[in-house]
Symmetry: C2
Subunit: 377 residues, 2 copies
């Protein structure tokens, strides 16, 4: 049976990227690799829409978040975080671990924090050194208006704006320089269509200054060292060579499509996915939907394990389960990275097969027809 992945990381890796990584390994001090890393550094600037450095770390995205917290801030620095899902919660855990001073706003899962809430928190905490937010919260499929929040933070505070863009970069509009962000993290196994193992962080001049001043002990995740090496198209420690080479390949694909087209495609796919699910009688989970992943409530009376078994074993489709208290209640369909219109038709079609198999009543063909209409309208 054909197996197809609709998970928000790992996401499918194009064959040309896989095969490029299967070429004989080269040494990271060889001119050939330096040329590749130099091109990757340049193309990452395009991806983040920035003229400022984007460093590459060999770790998962969480490592990139840790590097941001330990490199930009010092023990005692007050950080505002927003807990509206697993990954916003993670910013909070990192802040508590390394600066020990975290003001954590809580928003309901499936809801985005509003700029006014950030403004209020800043007014109540004028000594805030950083605002750590999640652009696309993967656990809830919810997108936050980073542009508006960045504007409000800039107008009212000197706090650094640090964005978890792990499932946003390459799916949602991200304009690092224009929006005035200070740090934005992503991971390789998301919009970049790569296996996991690399984290990328765009860093502003303000961030670079903060990095110079930071007193938090760090070593592997020192962005001070990363920036210094970046200037020479180098890395402080042995990079994940094969993954950097794959990244070079996937960045060429993004450049060829054009970043604005990549963003529009994700918006289109997300919209069609939502239409398809709704037509099958599935309630949407988020009131501010991400373009990377669509979480939907399981239809009333449908058991998650039975449903997922039929979807996976009989139809070869892997989707993501709900997390924490939404385990067994929602599931998440990813359209992040290497997906097109026909993939959305395919996954909604597979949902129809699955619902039919487990005997859940719905109008056969209504999902796929809604997907088609969404694309053609």
């Amino acid at each position: 049976m054909k197996k197809r992945l609709f998970t928000p990381g790992p996401t499918p890796v194009p064959e040309n990227v896989m095969l490029r990584m299967a070429a004989p390994i080269i040494h990271h001090r060889n001119p050939e690799f330096v040329e590749i890393l130099s091109r990757v550094h340049a193309d990452l600037k395009y991806l983040f829409q920035t003229e400022q450095p984007v460093v590459v770390l060999s770790s998962s995205g969480t490592g990139g978040m840790e590097a941001t917290v330990t490199s930009l801030f010092s023990p005692g620095d007050k950080l505002i975080t927003v807990n509206g899902g697993k990954f916003g919660e993670r910013w909070g855990q990192l802040a508590k671990t390394f600066t020990g001073n975290c003001v954590e706003l809580t928003v309901e899962w499936g809801t985005a924090v509003q700029p006014e809430q950030i403004l209020e928190a800043l007014k109540n905490n004028p000594d805030t050194k950083g605002v750590l937010i999640t652009h696309s919260e993967t656990s809830t499929g919810t997108a936050t208006d980073i542009k508006a929040i960045a504007q409000i933070v800039r107008e009212n505070s000197d706090a650094l704006i640090c964005v978890d863009g792990i499932t946003a970069v390459g799916a949602h509009e991200v304009r690092f320089d224009e929006w005035g962000l200070d740090a934005c993290v992503t991971g390789s196994q998301k919009g970049l269509m790569m296996p996991p193992g690399l984290a990328m962080i765009a860093l502003s001049e303000r961030a670079a200054k903060a990095i110079e001043a930071s007193k938090t002990p760090n070593y592997y995740f020192s962005l001070k060292k990363a920036l210094k090496s970046h200037a020479k198209d180098d890395t402080p420690y042995t990079p994940a060579v094969s993954l950097v080479i794959g990244l070079d390949e996937s960045l060429q694909m993004i450049k060829a499509e054009g970043i604005e087209n990549v963003w529009k495609r994700h918006e289109r796919l997300a919209n069609a996915c939502r239409e398809g699910c709704a037509a099958l009688g599935m309630k949407l989970f988020s009131n501010s939907p991400s373009f990377a992943v669509t979480p939907v409530w399981l239809p009333e009376g449908v058991d998650w394990k039975t449903f997922n078994k039929a979807l996976k074993s009989d139809n070869g489709i892997t989707v993501a389960a709900g997390q924490d208290e939404y385990k067994g209640k929602i599931f998440r369909i990813s359209h992040l990275g290497f997906y097109d219109e026909l993939d959305m038709l395919l996954v909604i079609g597979a949902l129809e097969f699955t619902l039919k198999q487990i005997g859940h009543p719905f109008e056969y063909g209504s999902g796929v027809s809604a997907v088609q209409k969404a694309f053609l309208s």
Copy 2:
């Protein structure tokens, strides 16, 4: 021209490992991946000759060293390190960064620390919490007698024994349990014949207890979380999926050869490499040679840049340069990982071609004939 890598990391990756990693990506929560990780966990125990857990982190080997320091020790803990090269120096830097209390022994580059020196340092510092040592110091091609040092530490102290086995594991005899080690780190791009991007750490029961008690702030590199996840054949954060799959393949190769045979092969290759170099009139750098990498002095009157250009551009061979004050004075030939007898013949042959090209006098054929004799004796 055929390109051939004789560097101590990245080391050559076998084609079957590369191709295995080029298969369609799978999700890390899929039963298929859990099965692979479970087998990797079991086979890593064989590699380290231990019954205790070996955790896998997505980072370079340095990340594994940082995880060891921040997870086993607390701020203020006194650690003994040995600076006899770049990587022993790194243990010291990590100790200074995270516990702030480091007794650093210095030994000359190319010389191994002696058990008596460790004993003396322990006697002078009875409050030592950990001894951090380098098994095979890559920068100097020097091997340290870890078995003897571990014995002396155990007999005279409660200090934890932490070993940088990055270029030793899969090259030198390592018997984690029998020798009573507490932590041993390796990296994927070394004896494991893989691209860089994974660190592996074997951990003793004593280490696990220390991990429970540690007060150093950490997150991504928390071995407490890593051990907890390991027990369920899981990882705390998204693992570098494709690299773990490649590791499964390379561990099968090591098992098929047999770990004792792998060690013996490395000893044989290192010996032949030394004989070949000596026959060409090159002085050996280390007085306690590693089986992973052989550093040799450039012959008198030979310029490193001219030599390396001829070796690389005309003969397709990449070796490693000398580091720090030995830049331009020594070079290092690796035989770590996927190498056999004929590779040693080949690399010494290439050295002969190169010396001939740059007009350095030597007896043509003497190097390769010494290699043959070494293998046949």
